[in-house]
């Protein structure tokens, strides 16, 4: 077991590619994406509209070493400010296999 930080990001589907590029650039070793999530936030209700794709969110999760967290979240901040979305950081243990 290795202590890591879990970073969870919720972002509009159309901004997903941008976020993944930023994660790659920040040097994370991997990530997991769940598409087609919906939700409600400052920018109102999303979902119930699969037509335009404009109101659909993606959920991205990446586990990374604690020392990388600042770099990752700082690189995400401008995109989240511009496009909306949420970023949560929490503690977890990674099973080394």
């Amino acid at each position: 077991m290795m202590p890591v930080k879990k970073i969870e990001i919720i972002i509009n589907e159309i901004g997903l590619l941008k976020v993944l590029k930023l994660l790659d650039a920040a040097g994370v070793s991997g990530y997991t994406v769940i598409k087609n999530t919906t939700g409600k936030g400052e920018r109102g209700l999303r979902g119930g509209d699969e037509l335009t794709g404009v109101f659909t969110n993606s959920y991205v999760m990446t586990a990374c070493p604690p020392e990388k967290v600042t770099a990752v979240v700082e690189s995400l901040r401008p995109t989240l400010k511009q496009r909306g979305g949420v970023c949560l950081v929490s503690d977890a243990q990674w099973l080394i296999h």
Binding site: N36, T52, Q82
Partner: protein, 323 residues
């Protein structure tokens, strides 16, 4: 205005399914078309309409008439977002004005398809190249709007402007790319291809359209609430703009000598507003614009207005002048 026309249009199954979708939301039914079915239905409609257009284009050959129509299409698709932007700018922030301008400068394939079904019912012909015109009209408004936005706003994001990304969003976004590609394939693959694909592209088309409009009704009704935020100005705009655009398109079509069917389809293209290609492109290129304005305007007002009242009105006027 021909009342029978209105009724006959209204009793078309696709239109009725649109109302069924509206009704489902009003009575709080839990009826819904689960994702990603609406997406695949829209891909199917674009595929079919593009392919049929390509077949029609190949059958027709290239004549001056076609060139005229295509030029007219590009001209209107560039002019509409320009004038709309300056109207909207009086009341709205730059980003929203640009995004709504793009929405109204571009076109709605489903409105086009519904109009085509009406013509078919009435036995009025139109050229296969109208589909090409439609495909050409999707992108210019996106380019114009993004340029207007870049020119009018202080760039807050600090991101370098990339022509490359803009063109990709305008010309290669999924909807535009698929309809263009299907058009080319329809034109290339000839009679044999058209015959094998007919059951898929033509025969079951009406059914796919009914399902799609059922979903559009549901989504439109769900988005109606957003309009309160949009306010009276934008609500009026969403009805007036199609009327103004039609009022511009019909005389142009007359002067340029378009046939009755072509004139009607051209008018519909100008009067319709995008709710698939443009919203996706705006979300990418002008993320500051609020989709809760431009999506419900085009989807919950302009689209139903056009298919219920607009279409019959434009056709009545055209019938009057062309006969």
């Amino acid at each position: 205005m021909d009342f029978n026309l209105l009724i006959s249009n209204f009793l078309n199954p696709p239109i009725l399914f649109f109302f069924l979708g509206l009704a489902a939301v009003f009575v709080k039914s839990d009826l819904e078309i689960p994702a990603p079915i609406p997406k695949i239905l829209s891909l199917y409609l674009l595929f079919a309409i593009g392919y049929k257009g390509g077949v029609g284009l190949a059958a027709g050959g290239l004549q001056t008439q076609i060139v005229v129509v295509l030029v007219a299409a590009v001209v209107m698709a560039t002019f509409v977002p320009l004038y709309a932007f300056f109207v909207l700018r009086r009341k709205l922030p730059v980003a929203d004005a640009a995004a709504i301008a793009a929405t109204y400068g571009s076109i709605s394939a489903v409105t086009f398809i519904t109009a085509a079904a009406l013509l078919e019912k009435l036995g009025i012909a139109y050229g296969g190249y109208m589909v090409a015109a439609m495909a050409l009209m999707e992108s210019p408004a996106i380019i114009v709007a993004v340029l207007l936005y870049r020119l009018s706003s202080v760039d807050r994001s600090g991101a370098a402007f990339s022509w490359r990304e803009l063109c990709r969003a305008a010309f290669f976004n999924g909807s535009v790319f698929l309809i263009m590609g299907s058009l080319v394939i329809g034109a290339l693959s000839g009679d044999a291809g058209a015959k094998t694909l007919k059951p898929f592209t033509n025969d079951i088309f009406a059914g796919g359209l009914c399902f799609f409009l059922l979903d559009m009704g549901i989504v439109a009704a769900k988005r109606l609430g957003d309009l309160r935020r949009a306010g009276a100005f934008l609500t009026a705009f969403a009805i007036l703009l199609p009327l103004i655009n039609a009022a511009l398109a019909i005389p142009l079509a007359y002067v340029w000598g378009l046939s009755q069917g072509d004139a009607f389809m051209f008018t519909i293209l100008c009067a319709s507003a995008s709710y698939i290609a443009v919203p996706a492109a705006m979300r990418l290129s002008i993320p500051e614009a609020n989709p809760s304005l431009y999506v419900p305007m085009s989807l919950a007002i302009t689209f139903p207005f056009n298919i219920i009242a607009g279409m019959s009105l434009y056709l009545a006027i055209i019938n009057y002048f062309w006969s």
